[in-house]
Amino acid sequence: MSIVRTANHRPAASAHRRRIDPVKAASFITLLITTFLMLLPLFFMVSTSLKSKKEMLKFPPTFLPESWAWSNYRDIFDTLQFGTLYKNSLIIAVLTVIGTLISSGLVAYGFARFRGRGNQFLFVLVLSTMMLPYPAIMIPQFVLFSHMNWIDTFLPLIVPAFFGSAYNIFLLRQFFSTLPEELFDAGRIDGCGELRMWWTIALPLSAPALATVAIFAFIYSWNDLLTPVLYLSSSEKFTLPVGMASLTSSRFRIPPWHLLMVASVLAMLPIVTLFALAQKQFVEGIVLTGIK
């Protein structure tokens, strides 16, 4: 049996169930070991977040907290304005997702449905901006936004999302291109304009791809550090990553590891939730839009 055999070939696999395939046995053991190593840091992230201040300094580290310090999860909201940080990050991420879906969805449709010489050229231009490193443009952008008096507001973190982003345009265009032409012919006969066809035909059929793009956009915004570090200066406007980074740079004599881990767990929460909710669509979306 081949190592690259696909999932659709279960019948063939079960026919030989009695014989244990040595390659599969070895793979299984390798996977057990690597998964253990991958999950161990996460396990300690959660476990340390529930330890008391004294216990977190113990060596060797205890696997499970001796006494579960659930109060850590309350304390962090007092010590760090954690609620404000969380709210700020959520506002920015949600607006970014909305902006990305609308703009990238429109632009991708434009590229997928219309074929022409200018179209080809412009699409290559889109792809080339994917290679454009953010640091290469951050200084002029900073100057531009400071002329507009946008410094220390959320605008520089949100507004660009409403103009489409190359990676998402690319993903969505790949998806839109797979929609059968007949659907749109039918729409045209019914007298639909392009905008209506986009809204009533293309978008509803693209749920997996849109979910993928939404998740990518959310994760990107939620985790971004460089942009908010540049633009936000007053602490009540900080996003979660900026607030958390300040925990190490302010140089505690002994870093409050247990609280740092609480922050990390809470920062991870929305992304894990999102992934759990949309996992099926997400994986489907990646497969369908296939990076080809």
Binding site: S2, V4, T6, A7, R10, A13, F28, T34, T35, M38, L39, L40, P41, F44, M45, P60, P61, S103, V107, G110, F111, R113, F114, T129, M131, L132, P133, P135, A136, I137, M138, I139, P140, F142, V143, L144, P160, F163, I169, E194, I219, N223, L225, L226, P241, M244, A245, T248, L260, M261, A267, M268, V272, F275, V283, I286, V287, G290, I291, K292
Partner: protein, 285 residues
């Protein structure tokens, strides 16, 4: 059509083309962001080549890239191949491998900051099981960069997802035919699977390189470029020049060198890909 793509067109002009061109202009000036830029010709570029910290940042970034990107690709592909088989607990393994990729950014840096702590951290504790006395990872100039490389391997699962998607696109009929012809696993992998997923490999190679040239968060949160500049990454250097030393002109020159290097790398890889990468439909592009 133009109605649909107009958001991108406007965005491209305002958020890409204009910044690139003005960045080019700034790179020939002495500019502190507050006072108007003053033209000084090529001085920023000549200074760069005599600036020790510039060369330090180039070396650090290249060392990081050359070690971490290939290992990450191999791990991602390896995991994907293992998990493409029908195997017990496959769903669990896939999720578990991908899980670390959801912790990216600052949270991951904080977590590993603790793991690498020489007194109470997990890493040296686990090494001690094997009788190894671990170094003070992030505080030692000889090991700090390697610590960050080890950390980067933790997220190989994100590459795995893309490889898995690629593997699903390999037609089963091809593999069946090869199997009937008596080709072994390794032959099938080398002659069918690898060529078929080469576009995914190429995509990840380019993206991996570009991301790795732009490492910032780890340096900002965990090491502040130290100790003794051993993690003085290129973009960290660029950020410090612009927003700590207020030398936006010099920093723009750094940005343009980065831009050109990324463009050259991409061009080389694209050129190679025309020769070696298989695209669906079989035609060369």
């Amino acid at each position: 059509m133009y109605m649909f793509i107009s958001p991108w067109l406007v965005g491209f002009l305002v958020f890409a083309l204009y910044p690139i061109l003005s960045s080019l202009y700034y790179s020939f000036t002495d500019y502190d962001i507050i006072h108007p830029p003053r033209f000084i010709g090529l001085a920023n570029y000549t200074e760069m080549f005599h600036n020790e910290l510039f060369w330090k940042s180039v070396t650090v970034t290249l060392r990081y890239t050359l070690v971490s990107v290939p290992i990450q690709l191999l791990l991602g592909l390896g995991f994907a191949l293992l998990l493409h088989q029908t195997i017990p607990l496959r769903g669990f393994f896939r999720t578990a491998m991908y899980f670390p990729s959801m912790v990216s950014g600052v949270a991951m840096s904080l977590l590993w900051y603790w793991i690498f702590n020489p007194q109470i951290g997990l890493f040296n504790y686990m090494l001690s099981w094997f009788g190894i006395h671990g170094p003070a990872w992030l505080m030692n100039p000889d090991t700090a960069l390697y610590a960050l490389i080890i950390m980067s391997l933790w997220t190989a699962g994100s590459g795995m997802i893309l490889f898995l998607a690629g593997l699903q696109g390999v037609p089963a009929s091809l593999i069946e035919a090869a199997n009937l012809d008596g080709a072994g696993r390794f032959r099938i992998f080398l002659n069918i699977t690898l060529p078929m997923i080469s576009p995914v490999l190429l995509f990840q190679l380019i993206m991996g390189l570009i991301d790795s040239f732009q490492v910032f968060t780890q340096a900002f949160v965990m090491t502040q470029g130290g100790p003794n500049y051993s993690t003085w990454f290129y973009v960290y250097n660029l950020y410090t020049s612009a927003f700590k030393e207020y030398r936006a002109g010099y920093s723009s020159a750094l940005a343009w060198v980065l831009l050109i290097v990324v463009m050259i790398f991409t061009a080389i890889i694209m050129k190679l890909s025309n020769r070696y990468v298989h695209y669906e439909g079989g035609g060369r592009r």
